[in-house]
């Protein structure tokens, strides 16, 4: 019998009933007596499987259903249709065995007590998760060292910077040794140095413990740097499942070739090779079909004073923008109205 997958979703769906009203006092007064509700499908028939130990990124625009999916996986929300399993457990049942095996870190919420040092909350978690004191101390020392927290854990949380607080939140989430770690926008609002430090830490944690990591982030670099597999969700539906390279190849198969030269050829002269997308002398860039890249490189290297020639995939941000701009086939067919819900 094979290993139980960390996560298995089978046509998972979540429908919210939300009230709606026009802006203004009159509408607010009317809403006191008569309220209009609409049903929103935040997640629709989502199916995928994640093996244990994998690092997976959930990508999607605001309101795509990423956070709703994570919350269902953590047992906070009950699905309205389909089935979810985490480590073989149904999350909505909130069995204590499952809750001991998972952790959820939310960049915009905190579990640390605001007025107390993080150490006090860690002690509470030790009791709640029933971790032996010596094991707890060992893990704490290791995490504090890895995240370079030092004395930070002894200061009241209200006095910490955002980055320090988020590192302390990560420690709080990891002290019980979860086998599945859900990270929801963990780097939001952080400076670049802190983002890099957190990424390094998560990668190292995954390597050392073999914990499965599921990450949502608006920062494409987070996902690109951390996740070997990405799942793109839009309008609550799965739009892509694979590696970042595969996503780029599928969405923007053209390679971007850029060069600096003393004299640049005209767009017409290059039309046979590809499409010029940028021209700021002495630099230019053109999108070229993969099979024509060698020919384009040879042509551009032959330009007078040619240097800094580079071949790259299109930037991930651009790829994502293009992907979200494309309508899903079922939407185009009108099989189901577009029903993008909020993440909450």
């Amino acid at each position: 019998m094979g290993e139980v997958p960390a996560i298995r979703l089978d046509r998972l769906g979540k429908r919210f009933r939300v009230s709606q009203r026009e802006p203004g006092l009159r509408a607010a007064l009317r809403a006191l007596f008569v309220r209009t509700h609409v049903e929103i499908d935040a997640v629709c028939e989502l199916s995928f499987e994640v093996p244990q130990g994998q690092r997976v990124g959930l990508l999607g625009p605001n309101g795509a259903g990423k956070t709703t999916t994570l919350k269902m996986l953590a047992g906070l929300l009950h699905p309205t249709s389909g089935r979810a399993q985490v480590l073989g457990h149904e999350p909505a049942r909130r069995s204590h065995e499952l809750l001991r095996s998972i952790a959820l870190v939310m960049g915009q919420k905190r579990q640390l007590s605001w007025d107390l040092p993080a150490l006090d909350t860690y002690e509470l978690n030790r009791v709640v998760f029933d971790v032996e004191r010596s094991v707890h101390q060992l893990r704490l020392t290791e995490l504090v060292e890895l995240l370079e927290l030092g004395e930070v854990v002894r200061k009241p949380v209200r006095t910490l910077s955002l980055g320090e607080r988020m590192k302390c939140e990560l420690v709080a989430a990891l002290l019980h040794g979860p086998r599945v770690l859900f990270l929801d926008e963990p780097t939001i609002g952080m400076d670049v140095a802190m983002q890099l430090a957190l990424r390094d830490f998560v990668r190292e944690h995954n390597r050392r413990t073999g914990a499965t990591v599921v990450l949502t982030s608006h920062y494409m670099e987070d996902v690109a740097a951390l996740c070997e597999r990405i799942l793109v969700i839009d309008g609550g539906r799965l739009r892509f499942d694979g590696s970042i390279e595969a996503l780029v190849r599928r969405t923007r198969p053209l390679r971007r070739v850029s060069v600096r030269a003393d004299a640049l050829p005209t767009d017409d002269e290059l039309r046979a090779l590809g499409q010029v997308v940028e021209r700021e002398p002495p630099r230019m860039a053109l999108d070229v079909a993969p099979e024509r890249v060698p020919e384009a490189v040879a042509r551009l290297l032959a330009l007078p004073g040619s240097h800094d020639l580079a071949v790259a995939d299109a930037p991930l941000e651009e790829v994502m923008r293009e992907l979200f701009a494309m309508r899903a086939p079922e939407d185009e067919a009108g099989a189901e109205p577009s029903s993008r819900g909020s993440d909450a």
């Binding site: 906070l76 204590h96 065995e97 919420k109 709640v128 998760f129 032996e132 060992l138």
Partner: protein, 300 residues
């Protein structure tokens, strides 16, 4: 970090080994106690959480000391209505001044516990539901209701409860009663039922907050209604008496305990108190579990 998970339910259950082991449920349906040692772990959770709230209260010196002064003033103020009433009457609805002293003592015990434990947790949990901060409480492998009911703590309010115990003893001495062991046990039973009913009402209010997010007013309403409990149940007639005995059972909280000590509470009333408290607690638990299923976890 690389060690195995410390799943030590067996360790935690060490102190309970002599108890008969209950069969584990095949399937856990929602939130609740699970496995051996769960009671021990929950008791430790309550102790650690209360300790944390005391530490948090100690962080703000001015707030801490002013809370103490207010509690003392509040304890003294709690006896004023009784003193004023007795200046004009020799007894109230058959209750002598010393018997009323015992009743006011019980009232102060209840309001002290309400102010120290119930009300702050109710406010904190309602706010957590509104803002979505309840997420982290729900991620703990413990009963979420227990987590909510110890979410906050106002230690100084216990001064009022302690003063209430003092007043109850003064009333007993003044009345010249020497309660037998069964009478003392009955008093403890009905007072326990009163506390259970108080918690049940709080849980019902908390459960409503899942559907109607802004319900802090209900906690204020509970506090205001507790004022009715400072008078003997015999003051009320007809529907009000039924209301305060079975629905919002103030009679069980404050009138029944001194009646038990005075030998004026018959067995059927004590059993009625137990049934009322158990029914209210069952209703509160069911409502809570239903409400939890509808939790929408505000914001990301």
């Amino acid at each position: 970090m690389s060690e195995p998970n410390a799943s030590s339910e067996t360790r935690a259950g060490g102190g309970l080994r002599r108890r008969r082991r209950r069969p584990r449920r095949a399937a856990v349906t929602g939130d609740g106690f699970e496995g051996r040692g769960a009671l021990h772990r929950h008791l430790r959770l309550v102790a650690v959480q209360l300790r944390l709230r005391v530490l948090a209260a100690l962080e703000y010196r001015t707030g801490f000391w002013s809370g103490g002064v207010l509690s003392l003033v509040w304890s003294i103020a709690g006896t004023v209505p009784l003193v004023v009433a007795l200046e004009h009457r020799a007894d109230i609805a058959g209750w002598t001044p010393w018997a009323l002293c015992m009743l006011v003592g019980c009232h102060m015990i209840i309001t002290g516990l309400f102010g120290a434990l119930v009300q702050p947790s109710l406010y904190a949990a309602m706010d957590d539901i509104r803002t979505g901060a309840l997420d982290y409480l729900l991620l703990r492998p413990v009963d979420a209701l227990v987590s909510c009911l110890v979410a906050d703590f106002e230690p100084w309010c216990l001064v009022e409860a302690v003063a209430g115990v003092g007043l109850l003893i003064v009333g007993m001495v003044g009345s010249g009663v020497h309660p037998s062991l069964p009478q003392l046990l009955t008093m403890a039973l009905v007072l326990g039922c009163g506390v259970m009913a108080l918690y049940a009402l709080a849980v019902l209010a908390l459960s409503l907050a899942f559907a109607a997010l802004e319900l802090q007013n209900l906690a204020y309403l509970m506090e205001a209604m507790l004022d009715f409990a400072r008078w003997p149940i015999s003051v009320f007639r007809g529907p009000l008496r039924a209301l305060f005995t079975f629905v919002v059972p103030f009679a069980i909280m404050t009138s029944y305990p001194p009646m038990a000590l005075l030998g004026r509470l018959d067995a059927s009333a004590a059993v009625g108190a137990l049934v009322t408290a158990v029914v209210l607690a069952g209703l509160a638990r069911a409502t809570w579990q239903r409400a939890l299923r509808g939790y929408t976890s505000a914001s990301s």
